[in-house]
């Protein structure tokens, strides 16, 4: 049976654009059908913006790549209507174990958060993740959503103009041209679009190689994340074991800088390494193996005129902390509503600059976290090694040293403090829901707060009546005592509060008293109209 990532799922089909005499103009073209391009396109299309996704390939990600998907991206997928499939298929885990040399030094339990619908994260192969997104697009198409994926359509040249971008696209039947009013480049870390525009991508390259092996095995290992520092089977290096659905296990082994790639990639050598780790009797099949190196880098600005960059094309991090796809999905979430508002004439183009401001801030945060994890996992100097080992030694005996152990800080959303879209804050309300923060979920009756918020501008009125109809804002009225989680995260000590929530479910502004004009002003500001 061919594996899912070897089967074309959006095979090439000739499009009408290829036979049109003149070049046709489209609203939005997304380049790249990776996780970020697909999520961006789904978000735009559900909001009624016609979108075409082009990809040089016609399959999902070859091999798994990303496996950990965090809570906030899952909530975004819920908003897009395809979170449940992912969670049903994914593996939820809570227990992590840390090993040093030949012994377990401690374990940690990520207790499932109370009052959230979604777990801290799930493990799911990137190819399943992408396949679910493509299935969702097919379902949307069946209902007439303006979305199209064109496989084996490779962008080979682009031209920038004031109000559009010209594209040259190669297909198996030869090239054709089209125009896009807006182009979203989700074409991955080696972004050809970025290169065509001569835009830089600067940062730090890490001198290390990692062997990644996804193996299929019936194993006794529990559903836990195991991380080894300097284990006997991989001296002086690190290793990771993590479970994915369908009995697939992710093994990630640090190899060091000075290696013979070809030699390391030979199946017999990989098997030898895996047997040393899993035991001589372990029975497994290699599903996908690869050796990767990485860098932490980003573009200086995520926008160039009518071209917007999202996901790995805009920023790249080390895999520690699972911040690549997770942050790219949040780029999509941030960008889609803004682009829709600009296209519909509700907001000036300048609103798109706030996409850059906010997501560049997030990229910096992710790069910082990922660089710190890398420094801990692969110490760069003798003294850094000494401190790293001292932390691990102490962690075995003392709780205090465990927070210093850094095998990846798992992806959490960025709070956009200082964003130009933020309106007033009110004193006394909880800090975690301040302007710029993503909405925190809470149970509401049979359902969940985030589902009630949906994806337009909302005024969340907790324990307070809103007497008016508000232009462009839907009121979501809830009682102050609806749930403990609601009171904890949204009220603190206050008996009532009003929150203006953006379409990406981030808080724009909040008040203790109803003031129609203040709300209207904050709405203007959140749309970049001020």
């Amino acid at each position: 049976m061919p594996r899912i990532f070897e089967t074309p799922i959006y095979p090439y089909q000739r499009s009408a654009d290829q036979d049109a005499g003149a070049r046709r103009r489209h609203k939005v073209v997304v380049v790249g059908a990776g996780p970020v391009g697909l999520v961006t396109a789904i978000d735009l299309a559900r909001q009624g913006v016609p979108v075409i996704v082009v990809d040089e390939n016609d399959k999902v990600s070859f091999g798994s790549r990303a496996i950990c998907f965090a809570k906030r991206p899952l909530e975004i997928l819920d908003r897009l209507g395809c979170g449940q499939q992912m969670v049903d298929k994914g593996v939820t885990w809570n227990l992590g174990k840390v090993f040093f040399h030949d012994r377990e030094i401690y374990s940690f339990n990520l207790l499932p958060g109370q009052g959230h619908r979604r777990p801290a994260f799930i493990n799911l192969q990137q190819y399943h993740f992408e396949k679910f997104l493509v299935d969702h697009i097919r379902a949307m198409q069946a209902q007439g959503a303006p979305i199209e994926i064109r496989g084996r359509n490779k962008v080979s040249a682009i031209g920038l103009h004031d109000d559009h971008v010209t594209l040259e696209i190669d297909t198996p039947e030869g090239p054709y041209n089209l125009d896009a009013e807006w182009l979203i480049a989700c074409d991955g870390a080696n972004s050809p679009i970025r290169k065509m525009l001569g835009l830089g991508f600067s940062g730090q390259v890490f001198q290390d190689n990692f062997l990644i092996a996804d193996v299929v095995m019936e194993a006794e290992f529990p559903t836990e994340r195991w991380f080894w520092f300097d284990p006997p089977f991989n001296r002086g290096q690190s290793a990771l074991l993590h479970k994915q659905p369908d009995n697939v296990w992710r093994i990630d082994m640090q190899l060091g800088w000075d290696i013979n790639r070809e030699h390391e990639l030979k199946p017999e050598n990989i098997r030898r390494r895996l047997h040393a780790m899993l035991g001589e009797d372990a029975k497994f099949e290699l599903e996908w193996t690869s050796i990767y190196t990485f860098r932490c880098a980003r573009m200086e600005r995520f926008r160039k005129g009518r071209v917007l960059f999202a996901g790995d094309s805009a920023h790249q991090v080390s895999p520690f902390g699972a911040r690549g796809a997770n942050s790219g999905i949040q780029d999509a979430d941030n960008l889609a509503w803004k682009l829709r508002a600009v296209i519909n004439g509700q907001a000036p183009e300048a609103l798109l600059d706030s996409y850059c401001d906010e997501r560049e801030q997030a990229a910096d945060e992710n790069i910082l976290n990922s660089t710190r994890s890398t420094e801990f996992i692969t110490p760069k100097s003798e003294i850094s090694h000494i401190f790293r080992d001292a932390v691990l030694d102490l962690a075995e005996h003392h709780e205090f040293a465990r927070p210093l152990v850094n095998s990846g800080r798992l992806s959490v959303p960025t709070i956009h403090d200082g964003s130009p879209l933020n309106g007033p804050d009110a004193e006394g309300l909880p800090p975690e829901t301040r302007p710029g923060a993503p909405a925190i979920d809470a149970p509401l009756g049979e359902g969940w707060l985030l589902d009630r918020l949906g994806d337009g501008f909302r005024l969340l009125a907790i324990g307070i009546d809103v007497p008016d109809e508000l232009a462009g804002i839907e009121v979501v009225q809830v009682a102050a005592d609806e749930s403990d989680a609601l009171a904890e995260h949204w009220l603190g000590g206050a008996g009532r509060a009003l929150y203006l929530i953006r379409p990406d479910q981030h808080v724009a502004a909040r008040w203790l008293e109803y003031d129609r004009d203040a709300i209207a002003a904050a709405h203007e500001r959140a749309l970049g109209r001020q």
Partner: protein, 67 residues
């Protein structure tokens, strides 16, 4: 006033402490001594906790010795 890094004598019996510090390193290789020092720094830093004091201690320790 916020708490500050103590830079006046604060160890009741300095000679005792100094002797104990060296005794802890007695017979250790350079690598073992380095490891002990690192553990000691981490233990004491956690005891202090206060980021402002830790920053100040790092600053004082980083001053180049007078030439």
């Amino acid at each position: 006033m916020p708490p500050q890094l103590t830079l006046t004598a604060n160890i009741p019996d300095p000679d005792d402490f100094y002797e104990a510090l060296l005794a802890a390193h007695e017979g250790l290789s350079k690598a073992e001594s380095d490891a002990l020092n690192a553990r000691l720094i981490l233990l004491l830093a956690n005891h202090v906790g206060d980021p402002a004091i830790l920053r100040e201690a790092l600053r004082q320790a980083s001053r180049k010795p007078a030439s």
